[in-house]
Amino acid sequence: MYRLVKYFLKTTFISFYQEKKQFIVQKRVVKNENILSQEEFKFEENEFLTFIKSCFIENTQTYISTIIDTFNQGCVDSCSHSRYKEIGINIENIKILCLKNYSIFIGLYELNEFNKNMQQYKIDFVFSPYLLIDINNKKTKNTLYLLITKNFVAIIIYEKPLIPLYSNIYQLKVEITNNNSQLENSNTDEELDGIDDDIDLIEDIEDLDDLDDLDELNDNIDENIDDEFGDIEDETNNNKNIQEDMSEMKNELDTIEFLKNSIKDYYESYSDNFLDYIHIFHNGEISDKFIQTIKDETLLDISLEKINILSIINDLALKEIDV
């Protein structure tokens, strides 16, 4: 049906993922297999809802896709239920996505919760992060494929005949904004305590002989308050930057720890073959220091590849409709 429709109608594909409290969005308009336009946006939650509504008004053939980065998902080297039973996965609690020669599963509870939370966005397609790796790589044996985003880190290691043998995902903590707000509040409280002390001093002055003294006092208080608020703003910004840096550092450390644990788990439980490379897919900036740390910790060669997650999600959505 879509094949018939696509020759006459435009189809709009919207892919998005959340980064902190922002929605990173790509809108792609396709007609007859040609991309007419492709734009990327950053929205707050309300803006994103309005954007989706406007897209649906503009074109009813609008498909919204995203990725689900919950921990309870993975790849299994077969589609058969018996294989799932072999490795101790209860198939009643999961949803299995059978691909060509392997399958991806996800916990039903997590998927339902995700759908419930995202109900307002009218999502059509939910993809696994593993697909983002799988669709992009040349599937070399003894290579660890790592996808690093600001929200999660995913790993796939392939085995002959190039089907995923090991997969793992780790959700990074992104609570910078909340911490900042708490910090801002605590700092502001401290500074305001200082102002309260000044006001207490005023109250202590009982012997006010003339109005000149009173004016002088008022001027002093105003100056003090302006200075204090200026300092608070500067300190808040500094704190924000420091917190962000700290959070990024923590995420990097968590990523390295997760990577080390995954490699250990792989060697212990999955394969005796030594890994030769780590191929990293990333959609943001990755510092050289971080790469060097991974090299030092894992003693493996690293190659980097920047990908556009949103484009891949839209590509997958297009394929999903084209099936």
């Binding site: 996505l97 759908n115 993809f127």
Partner: protein, 168 residues
């Protein structure tokens, strides 16, 4: 299939477009229905027209027949009138003829045709016949021939042939 979820159903048209389309389709359907109604009506009218044409031609034929009949009846009437007139004339002629016959002479047979008169009868004598009947016959007919046959009692049977000359 790559997604954990299936796509929601996508309507081809927005709600307001749907309303417009429903309206347009309804109007089109009404127009089609009305045109079909008109087509059917016109089809039936055409049928009626052809039937009426056949009937008209039949009626025309009937009118022609009736006209012919009227002409025929008129001619019959004319003929009838003529025959009546002729009969009346004949009746008068016979009456006149019978008036011509004198008392002593008795007729036994008369044949009347268009241009001739045959009289058969009995006369006491030739003289009575020649004096009483022959002159009026001669005055009427161009040719008068009389033959007599004597009977046993002395009377005569006579045969009178009278003819009018035919007009050329």
């Amino acid at each position: 299939m790559y997604s954990f979820t299936k796509a929601n159903k996508k309507p081809f048209f927005a709600e307001d477009t749907k309303l417009w389309l429903i309206f347009i389709f309804a109007i089109s359907a009404l127009m089609i229905f009305f045109s079909l109604f008109l087509l059917t009506k016109s089809y039936f009218y055409k049928n009626d027209i052809s039937e009426f044409k056949v009937q008209i031609s039949k009626n025309n034929k009937k009118i022609t027949d009736f006209s012919n009949k009227i002409i025929f009846i008129k001619k019959e009437k004319e003929l009838n009138t003529q025959i009546s007139v002729n009969n009346e004339l004949l009746k008068d002629g016979v009456k006149n003829l019978l008036d011509l016959i004198p008392d002593p002479i008795t007729l036994t047979n008369i044949k009347i045709s268009k241009n001739s008169l045959f009289i058969y009868g009995v006369t006491p004598s030739k003289e009575i016949y020649n004096v009483l009947l022959l002159p009026p016959l001669k005055s009427i007919f161009n040719i008068t021939i009389t033959n007599f046959y004597q009977m046993d009692n002395g009377w005569y049977k006579f045969e009178s042939i009278n003819k009018l000359k035919e007009e050329k």
